[in-house]
């Protein structure tokens, strides 16, 4: 099998110090037995799952604890047997910030007789049932965005190329690398399933060149499998080569249209971890209850990759890796570029948590002073989305939404390349993120304004019609009264006459 040759350069991007070797020295550690699990219902990009257990109930390994909500949503399962302590709202890690979510809190008892393990589900024969099985297994994109996999695979548009993302471009993270080294066969089994479901002709597996062991392992597995559809492509180790849009462009030469999903370019992008989860589901009938997490950084004693039950508190994970070393003021969830800092280690590992960095205080640099933009254009050179950060910056500061729309702020993937190269140390990404948030709010307000105006005008119109009608009614009534008055006079006169007659007759009696 020959390697897929790439004849184009990546747009933008920066070469970063990878710092991945720190956590790749040991094999994947599978001995973590958490005592408590906090299983969030919002672990996917989409509506939350609905808890299907009650406090006090005992659940067995692999039992669903959350039913998928309205699509795109995914189910949640109990990774281990135990007793439900509570179903409550907690702060959990989301895509780019902490968010509030219902959580099922579990006290693990880890009994592992047959009765304590949910029976493996049969892999169905029909495509529609298979997609439903993937949804019921709670599989979501494990690269970080956590988009429900079933909804990606069930898209009705035609998909020609499945992009398998093993680039893992962010510093420190090595969970996909280790997975590819150790589980190449399962990854490929999942890949084949996804290819069949999508009806795609080919699969391109993109791996950054700085992972020779993973490339070797995957190449050998592909050769063993002999599936001509799957081809391996070594891509340049430049951040953010592993971004969905960037990898598609690098491998196929096609650009995903602004504001659309990759399917618009005939591609579907899946992370290798997702392929592994699908492979496990096909082979063993297992739902997604564990994932590989890189625990790394100078602040942890034994940096390594750990297979973690979803919901494990980060504190137990760190303790399992030898605990903290020295002063660790904060943790970073995700990589150093797109991840975010948290100060609590009571948060659970979710399906999207690919890396936990324990930051030693020596690793944190002082905050640089922000200098004025000198319009050097370095940020535009490294922007993988081909934007002009130097032009976006002043408009982001003043919330000039019309201009920001024209300049394509919404295409910013917040990768942070511009921050890295900026000689004035301007936190550009932070400005853009803030402007995006403000823009969303502004659009909501505009929408509210438009609908309100329409509803207001309709109400005015309705009231006017009502007035008109009641006016009409009144005039009609008056006319009626006027018309009737003649006959009414006669009636009154008749009655008066009658009374008069009776009086006269009464007088006669007395």
């Amino acid at each position: 099998m020959t390697e897929y040759q790439i004849h184009r350069h990546m747009t933008g991007g920066v070469r970063l110090v990878a710092r991945k070797r720190m956590s790749t020295a040991r094999t994947i550690n599978r001995t973590l037995r958490p005592k408590r699990l906090i299983i969030p219902m919002t672990q996917q990009l989409g509506p939350p799952a609905t808890p299907s257990v009650v406090p006090g109930q005992r659940v067995i390994t692999g039992q669903p604890v959350g039913e998928p909500g309205r699509a795109p949503s995914a189910a949640a399962h109990a990774p281990r047997s135990g007793k439900v302590l509570a179903v409550e709202e907690r702060l959990v890690p989301g895509g780019s910030q902490l968010l509030k979510s219902q959580c099922v809190v579990l006290a693990v008892d880890d009994k592992s007789t047959d009765a304590d393990i949910e029976p493996a589900s049969e892999w169905p024969n029909l495509d529609a049932d298979r997609i439903q099985a993937i949804r019921n297994a709670g599989i979501v994109g494990l690269g970080g965005a956590a988009f429900p996999t079933a909804d990606k695979l069930g898209a009705t548009e035609r998909c020609g190329t499945l992009i398998l993302n093993g680039a893992e471009c962010e510093p420190y993270i090595s969970c996909d690398d280790m997975l590819m080294r150790e589980h190449a066969t399962d990854i490929l089994r999942g890949t084949q399933t996804m290819l069949d479901l999508l009806g795609a002709e080919r699969c391109l597996l993109g791996i950054e060149r700085d992972k020779p062991v993973a490339i070797e392992s995957m190449a050998a597995a592909i050769a063993d499998l002999g599936d001509a559809r799957i081809r391996l492509a070594a891509v340049t180790s430049k951040y953010p080569a592993g971004g969905e849009r960037q990898l598609i462009e690098l491998l196929t030469g096609m650009e995903v249209p602004s504001g659309k999903y990759p399917i618009a370019a005939g591609c579907v992008c899946q992370n290798v971890g997702t392929a592994y989860a699908v492979g496990r589901l096909v082979r063993l009938g297992e739902p997604l209850t564990t994932r590989i997490v890189s625990v790394t950084g100078e602040g942890v004693a034994e940096p390594q990759n750990v297979e973690v039950s979803i919901g494990t508190p980060i504190r137990e994970l760190i303790e399992h890796c030898g605990g903290y070393v020295g002063d660790v003021p904060r943790l970073i969830l995700g990589g150093t570029m797109m991840g975010y800092a948290v100060s609590s280690d009571e948060l659970p590992v979710t399906k999207a948590t690919n890396c936990v960095i324990a930051v030693h205080s020596d690793e944190i640099r002082d905050r640089y002073e922000e200098w004025p933009c000198i319009r050097c254009g370095d940020c535009a050179d490294v922007c993988p989305a081909r934007l002009l950060p130097q032009d976006l910056l002043p408009r982001s500061r003043t919330y000039d939404f019309d201009q920001l729309k024209i300049l394509g702020l919404n295409d910013c993937i917040e990768c942070g390349c511009c921050d890295v190269v900026c000689p004035s140390h301007i936190p550009l990404t932070a400005y853009f993120r803030d402007a995006k948030r403000a823009q969303r709010l502004h659009e909501q307000h505009q929408h509210l304004a438009d609908t309100s105006q329409i509803r207001y005008l309709r109400k005015q119109e309705r009231l006017r019609l009502q007035d008109e009608q009641s006016e009409l009614h009144h005039t009609e009534l008056k006319a009626q009264v006027a018309k009737d008055s003649g006959s009414r006079q006669e009636t009154i006169q008749a009655a008066l006459d009658r009374v008069q007659r009776r009086r006269n007759s009464d007088d006669r009696i007395t």
């Binding site: 919330y399 509210l448 609908t451 105006q453 207001y456 309709r458 109400k459």
Partner: protein, 165 residues
């Protein structure tokens, strides 16, 4: 030369006639400035500016009879945009008007509601539903947080809450 003159004259004459007809029969643009200003307002029709609805306020600003700082829900942002559109300096918001906000929605405490229907009558956007003697409720996606329903409620069962997205 003559042909050219004739053609050009005919052309200008036709166009002139067309223009005259258009100006006579097409509906006139109401007030372009007022329309433009109205687009900049939050248009939630809260009437806290003292005018009956955003359109009336926009017309008043365009006519020069109202200041641009009378829109509490729009706040500083709207004032800035209005000032920009009019080529004036922004002014601080007039504090005495009210505190309607786009980030709030009304909620009716349904256990207290007596079904008097007074709130539904004043709601500018028909966001309150319910018939006489029955419980009323607020359609929160349509509610603009204008607070107009608060004063008429005889049992004070309406509260404003932050809008959740």
């Amino acid at each position: 030369m003559i042909t050219g003159t004739v053609i050009l004259t005919a052309l200008t004459a036709t166009l002139a006639i067309l223009l005259v007809l258009a100006s006579r029969y097409l509906p006139p643009a109401a007030d372009p400035m007022a329309d433009r200003l109205e687009r900049l307002l939050p248009r939630i029709q809260c009437a806290q500016c003292g005018y009956p609805g955003c359109h009336a306020y926009a017309v008043a600003i365009a006519a020069g009879s109202a200041s641009i700082n009378r829109c509490p829900p729009g706040g500083d942002e709207t004032i800035r945009e209005l000032a920009h559109a009019l080529g004036r300096e922004p002014e601080p918001l007039l504090a005495s008007l009210g505190n309607a906000s786009l980030d709030k929605v009304a909620r009716i405490d349904e256990s207290l509601c007596i079904g008097c229907n007074l709130c539904a009558r004043v709601c500018p956007v028909d966001a309150i539903v319910g018939i006489s003697q029955m419980m009323h409720t607020v359609i929160s996606t349509h509610c603009t947080g204008c607070e107009l329903c608060l004063p008429p409620c005889p049992v004070d069962c309406i509260v404003l809450e932050p809008r959740d997205d």
